[in-house]
Amino acid sequence: MLTAGQKKLLVELKSSLAEAVPEGQISESDYAKKGYHLEVRLDKGGLRRVAQTMLDKRFMLETVTAVDFIDSFELVYLYATYYHQYCRVLTRIRIAKDAQPYSVSAIYPAAIWLEREVYDFFGIRFQEHPDLKRIINPDDADYFPLLKNFGKTKFTDQIDDILC
């Protein structure tokens, strides 16, 4: 159940996000089921505009991740706040396999490492990133581990014997 403060915050967020990224689809989601309040679905771009809006509203960049759907990636940015009553915003964008999104590290320095991790595991190159190199895997690795056609997943034939 959303409190009055949260409802107000959500209304403000929706309006400023709609102003910043008019082409995005902003929808509310059920916190009890999903864990986030607002979902922003972007299509072609707008990551940096969303990030700037979130920073102005005093949200922190909680995490950045990517999901490998076989023919595209989905980049997910999660923002959370501790200055207002709790609120979480999830931003997703579907990008093609060889797309190069812009980095938000100029706005949120936390993104420097988070996006390095995404590059390290998925191979997504970010433009205007100050220091895009491997972070967790060995520096001379030539593979991207979390891709679905690498290693043992249910999409390869190297699957372990799991109780499926």
Partner: protein
């Protein structure tokens, strides 16, 4: 403090040299490699290099069913293994819509808080050891032994727990555990005085921790810092109070904060949190409801399609699980938000301008667990 000289690649002069602190070093908690660029004894640039204990937990999640993945979260942050374990169970329960009985929630809270106390003992006393005081470290481990014995009674393991299950916990607590926890709480309350006299009031300790490694609120927001590191800078944010989960809304406890943002503030926040955890455990033991400890769930859980993000407060900060499911028994993607990952990066901003001896102090006061960063 000295004026910070930020290093600019065009102006590196011959006086500057590089020193590797780690990966093997007596004072880095785990295999942590800090590449320092020093001018005399003043640090000009610091670059943490991670990845030495990468085990591929997120990849492992993609070829195991949800139940088989249960041991993994505890191995990520082994010092708050119970908290991560329960957090993962919470995430899957949220995805599937399973409701947990009240007694199980209370048991989860008791074991999580015990784990938090154990982790904070290491966090604070490791910081003291980094400064050179070795005795409090051993006293802290003595207290921690009692906790490990207690948790071994009900879960079977001392460090990496796999006690939670989807829908509750594996087995009920025993009378031995109940009595042991009560005795432990009483003993711990009398031990706080020892630590107070030994370190908290020690003039050398205070002089080395005051105004060292100050994290401002803006830096904390920009870098995504959470946990006691954040609360030492004056922001009152604790997932247990701000986004309550499990049985936490039913307990009365406070969130200690300090406003200076230096190493001493973070240390004091952790010591104050120890007391609050003891209060929570006492309240939980007093009002423990009867009932089942595990809800009825199917043997192999099959969440519906969709994604879900669950956050919880580990000893180091706000951790989280982001699970993407495609309707089968095998998760599609599990992403772990490790609080130490964001907390560590703040070092690059606050360290320049300090001495070499302070780097060890700052690193100890941020209290990272390296395997959690590397997963």
């Amino acid at each position: 403090m000295l004026n910070i000289k930020t290093i600019d690649d065009a102006t590196i002069n011959q006086r500057v040299y590089q020193l590797n602190l780690g990966p093997q070093h007596p004072s880095t908690h785990g295999v942590m490699h800090l590449l320092l660029t020093l001018d005399g004894e003043v640090v000009v640039k610091i670059e943490p290099i991670i990845g030495y204990s990468h085990r591929g937990h997120e990849k492992m999640a993609e070829n195991r069913i949800y139940e088989q993945y249960l041991p993994n979260p505890a191995r990520m942050d082994y010092l708050s293994g119970m908290i991560f374990n329960h957090g993962y169970c919470m995430a899957v329960e949220k995805l599937c819509g399973i409701e947990v009985p009240r007694r199980a929630e209370y048991i989860r809270v008791i074991t999580s808080e015990l784990n938090r106390i154990a982790s904070h003992f290491i966090g604070t006393m490791d910081y003291a050891m980094g400064l050179g005081a070795i005795t409090p470290f051993l006293w802290g481990w003595d207290d921690r032994e009692n906790i490990l014995d207690l948790l071994e009674m009900i879960s079977g393991s001392r460090l990496t727990y796999s006690y939670g299950r989807f829908g509750g916990v594996r087995n009920d607590i025993t009378k031995e555990f109940y009595d042991g926890t009560r005795k432990f709480i009483d003993r711990l309350r009398s031990r706080f005085w020892d630590y107070e006299n030994l370190i908290n009031q020690n003039v050398i300790f205070i002089k080395r921790s005051k105004e060292v490694g100050v994290i401002s609120k803006e830096d904390a927001l920009a870098f995504g810092v959470t946990g006691p590191t954040l609360r030492g800078s004056g922001v009152k944010y604790d997932v247990r109070k701000n986004e309550p989960y499990s049985a936490y809304p039913e307990f009365k406890f406070e969130i200690p904060t300090r406003k200076e943002g230096d190493c001493l503030a973070r240390y004091q926040v952790r010591m104050a949190e120890l007391e609050q955890s003891v209060n929570i455990i006492e309240q939980a033991l007093d009002h423990l409801p009867p009932g089942p400890v595990r809800a009825k769930v199917p043997r192999f859980v099959t969440p519906p399609e969709g994604d879900c993000y669950v956050t919880f407060e580990s000893a180091r900060g706000a951790a989280g699980f982001y699970i993407v499911s495609d309707g089968t028994r095998v998760p599609y993607r599990i992403k772990v938000r490790a609080p130490s990952f964001s907390n560590l990066f703040v070092l690059t901003k606050i360290c320049p301008g300090h001495f070499l001896a302070d780097i060890v102090a700052i690193f100890g006061s941020i209290d990272v667990t390296v395997p959690e960063i590397d997963r």
